[in-house]
């Protein structure tokens, strides 16, 4: 692991929270803004701006939600964070709550991770005992507590408006934005939703400062990224890399050999061939929520395509037409490619449909569901259509 690693390091509990209490709220917001921290779930929205917007919303009730519905194929870094340093995530949530003026926090834990719940409850209890959660935290005037809510096996609930619907006891269907959750979220109150890894970064920025954070990573992508590496590598696992690391350097780190292709960003990401391995993992080049899947030269790209397209067909919630119909269309297209029966006109139509889905699907699921298909088609055309 490179020297930049800090996200998975243990640190003194409560130190960042204590420091946050000594600074005024606006200053912390500015600090997070200046640090350049962006959401680590994949979308990369500036966290400081989110804090500012949610803090500025006029309401006496606000919520902080930690999105632990990690469902992107090939992603397991949030699991590792929650197994290793859950207290930092909770402290990050508490600092955020203090800044925006929330009293209630919720961690939405995917149903598949139910076995983590007991350990997380223990951590929460320990923090309550140490007065880092609950009433009058650290003897001040700030009350905040966190509860854990279990998801029930729906990928789309990782989308923030769908997640909120699910928390309200409804079908997890995404909603049109605006309004954004920062102005009208859970029970129509301002709500800040962020990824596990994002919250985990906050205590570090508060204690070490914005400049320290900015010094790590690339120009437009400050800090580090946890990537979950799986597939044809000798050392699969979670790696913390500074933003801007080249794909080929990551491959060296995880001891990949004979590599043909790398999927970055999971089923909703893109698949690149060897000729693009000097591209960077960053918001300015290839962003990722954390998934990196490596394929060696024995693998067929059509199998990857098929797996991902079936995934989206399965997980599309079905409420909006482009996604519901489009995902089916792409599964059928894979079948046609497999049988060597796809025509040039059909391929052209598929690109149009893909664009239409990007433009008109209600949420990120439909919008990104064809990324893998199109990138495999572009990058491995000869293999696919031979």
């Amino acid at each position: 692991m490179p020297a930049a690693g800090f996200v998975l390091e243990k640190r003194k509990q409560g130190e960042a929270l204590k420091k946050a209490f000594e600074i005024n709220r606006a200053e912390i917001t500015d600090m997070i803004k200046d640090s350049g921290l962006k959401g680590r779930g994949g979308a990369g929205f500036p966290t400081g701006l989110k804090m500012y917007l949610c803090g500025a919303a006029a309401d006496t009730i606000k919520y902080v939600i930690c999105n632990a519905d990690e469902g992107e194929p090939g992603t397991f870094k949030d699991r590792v964070i929650l197994e290793t340093v859950p207290e930092k995530v909770f402290e990050g949530m508490a600092i955020t709550a203090y800044v925006i003026g929330a009293k209630e926090g919720i961690i939405y834990l995917r149903g598949e991770y139910e076995y983590l719940k007991a350990g997380l409850e223990n951590t929460l209890d320990g923090m309550r005992k140490n007065n880092l959660l609950g009433e009058k935290i650290l003897g001040g005037n700030f009350d905040f507590d966190i509860k854990i809510v279990l998801g029930a096996g729906a990928y789309v609930c990782g989308e923030e408006t769908a997640l909120i619907e699910s928390l309200e006891g409804k079908r997890g269907e995404a909603k049109n934005k605006p309004p954004f959750p920062v102005s009208s979220g859970l029970f129509c109150h301002p709500t800040l939703v962020s990824n596990v890894e994002t919250f985990c970064n906050i205590p570090h920025i508060v204690t070490e400062g914005a400049q320290w954070f900015k010094n790590i990573g690339s120009e437009k992508s400050a800090g580090t990224k946890l990537v979950s590496v799986s597939g044809d590598v000798k050392k699969p696992g979670v790696y913390e890399i500074p933003f801007g690391m080249k794909v080929k350097d990551l491959l060296k780190l995880v001891e990949a050999g004979n590599t043909k292709a790398v999927d970055i960003g999971g089923a909703s990401g893109i698949v690149i061939p060897e000729s693009q391995f000097d591209r960077e993992i960053s918001f300015e080049d290839i962003p990722t929520g954390g998934s990196v899947i490596v394929f060696d030269k024995t693998r067929k790209m059509i199998d990857v395509m098929e797996n991902f397209m079936e995934f989206f067909l399965d997980e599309s919630c079905g409420q909006c037409t482009p996604c519901r119909e489009g995902t089916k269309y792409f599964v059928d297209a894979v079948e046609k490619i497999k049988n060597g029966r796809i025509t040039d006109q059909e391929l052209k139509n598929l690109r149009d449909i893909s664009n239409c889905m990007k433009l008109t699907s209600k949420c990120g699921l439909g919008q990104s569901s064809t990324n893998a298909f199109i990138s495999i088609l572009d990058n491995f055309k000869e293999e696919l259509l031979s």
Binding site: E70, G71, E72, P73, G74, T75, F76, D78, R79, R110, G111, E112, Y113, E114, Y115, V149, L150, G151, A152, G153, A154, Y155, S166, L167, E168, G169, K170, R171, G172, E173, F187, S228, V229, S230, G231, D232, P236, G237, V238, D263, G266, A267, I293, F295, R299, D303, V304, N307, F308, E310, F311, D314, E315, C317
Partner: protein, 162 residues
């Protein structure tokens, strides 16, 4: 957890009373109540939808609509132990299909099926977040990783006597 082919209304009402003694009737707790019912009975049926609906003041169709959205809230008869094998590419690369075959062989049912004694249901699951220890499966809330066909069969056998 008791799973039988027929669950009596009385059993359901008793369990619901039990669950609701710890939970209030705010709509936000609906999923959690349904999850508890699945934990107890293995799946949700019409009687449960009606009874839960009555308590929450929500139409039973709405209860069904919510439940049917979520993979972990089965609305058709389902076994006591739900075996969910990851179908995602990282597990596939590590021969997840062989695990499926081994388990199908061990319990004598195909994907999507439930054993006659209502003990096991075999399902595909999307990424379980265990890609570094592929292939992986869940049995109810327990996760099993780095499976081999032999290891998978052994795990299933250990559940047969539970």
């Amino acid at each position: 957890m008791t799973v039988s082919s027929k669950i009596s209304k009385k059993e359901i009402i008793n369990e619901l009373d039990n669950i609701l003694s710890k939970t209030n009737l705010e709509r936000e707790n609906l999923l959690c109540v349904l999850e508890e019912l699945v934990r107890k009975f293995g799946y949700l049926n019409d009687i449960m939808a009606v009874e839960v609906g009555k308590r929450f003041g929500v139409d039973p169709n709405e209860i069904y609509s919510v439940a049917s959205f979520y993979a972990f809230l089965p609305v058709k008869k389902s076994g006591k132990y739900k075996i969910r094998i990851c179908r995602t590419i990282s597990c596939k690369l590590k021969n997840a299909d062989k695990i499926v075959e081994a388990i199908e062989d061990e319990i004598g049912i195909k994907f999507g099926g439930t054993t006659k004694d209502m003990k096991f249901t075999l399902e595909r699951a999307n990424c379980l977040g265990m890609c570094d220890k592929a292939p992986a499966m869940l049995i109810n809330d327990k996760v099993y990783t780095e499976l081999t066909p032999e290891k998978a069969k052994e795990i299933i056998r250990s559940y047969k006597n539970k």
